[in-house]
Symmetry: C2
Subunit: 227 residues, 2 copies
């Protein structure tokens, strides 16, 4: 007897950007797990809150979110053990994931600790899609190449990738903002680049990238070559 683990994309922040399938599972699964900081409920739980019935069994998978992230593997391992205990008695478990579970999602790492489970994934609205909706700018069209690229890469690699595509969403900006600015300037892309902060959340904002000297963690930069 064994349950199924569901990776449930809850989208970028607005509870109305949850899919009908995610809503149904949130309302019906007996156990829900979610990543969170050491205290409090975390973003995925906050997004899903309107759809979670009272009294549901919940598992918090807690991380310190320190830059060195040295507690990460231990947190996933413990979360996976807690989830596996429910699966073993035949209970299905939903894992809440910001955005989409399989696109830079922590669910990917959690799955590595649940190697023999039955798994299903419900896709969610990824933040680049929500950001584009806010700017009303196309992400890509016709035969353009569109890349989602973490700014944590070395400067030369960022430049190499951006130089061969027409459009990009650059994520994980943080302290790499000035590196990215240099690359975009060299490629002639900086004037059209738009910074989107907290796409899909109530305090979402868009600014020209040039004016966005300091960007919060939940921000990304959209660029597209003029055609």
């Amino acid at each position: 007897m064994s349950g199924t683990v569901y990776g449930i994309g809850v989208g970028p922040g607005d509870p109305e950007l949850i899919t009908l399938k995610a809503k149904r599972l949130l309302e019906t699964l007996p156990v829900l797990a979610w990543p969170a900081p050491l205290e409090g409920e975390g973003l995925a739980r906050r997004i899903a809150a309107p759809f979670i019935p009272e009294g549901r069994t919940e598992i918090a998978i807690r991380f310190s979110f320190r830059p060195e992230r040295d507690d990460t593997a231990a947190a996933y391992a413990k979360g996976a053990r807690d989830i596996a205990a429910h699966l073993a008695v035949g209970q299905d478990v939903g894992v809440l994931c910001e955005g989409d579970p399989l696109l830079f999602g922590s669910f990917i790492h959690l799955l590595e600790h649940l190697p023999d489970c039955k798994v299903q994934v419900v896709p969610g609205i990824a933040s680049p899609l929500a950001a584009a909706a806010l700017t009303l700018r196309p992400l890509a069209t016709l035969d353009e190449a569109f890349v989602i690229l973490p700014a944590t890469r070395p400067e030369a690699e960022i430049e190499r990738v951006l130089s061969v595509v027409e459009a990009a969403a650059i994520i994980k900006i943080g302290r790499h903002r000035d590196t990215l600015a240099r690359v975009l300037d060299r490629l002639g892309l900086i004037d059209d680049a738009v910074a989107v902060e907290r796409a899909g959340m109530p305090d979402q904002a868009i600014r020209p990238f040039r004016d966005a000297v300091c960007l919060p963690y939940f921000s990304l930069v959209l660029v597209r070559r003029s055609t």
Copy 2:
């Protein structure tokens, strides 16, 4: 007095992958427009059908879908005129979009014909996300670069892009299947490549790309370098 045009992403096929926001707009907007072939209702209308009340004013934007697509601009122009007539009398108009409106969506071209309108966009589940959910394979994680790349590009450009990223969803395969196979073979990616057909639809299927000699229009190929 002028209405707003809403680009509504209806996702890849499964009506349960529509967002709550899209559902609300489908149920309440007075006018709905959708792309379609010369006869019949088209995929976006079929996906949204469970949520469209009877008697709603609907505008079909019809294309021949011939390879040369020489009727495309005229169809968008006519669709935009029909939509603008409703906006002018203060009616909001929803435009149904398969997947996401701003990621390779026909909504992008329609907007070019509606330059001075109030616009809002509701993001939708893009097909690469639905395809990944089906395969249970990560699209990308950590600092990987993930590209969405149309196979309609010249072979050398496909190779140049795929050689600098860790992961890709290759779309618009059709008659470019063998070109793509050559590129993936040269880059050592062909054995891990997976073909996903009609992701999110009832007859969805996944096959190793090597075995997928003939791929339908609604298919894509996922690749990711082994890490």
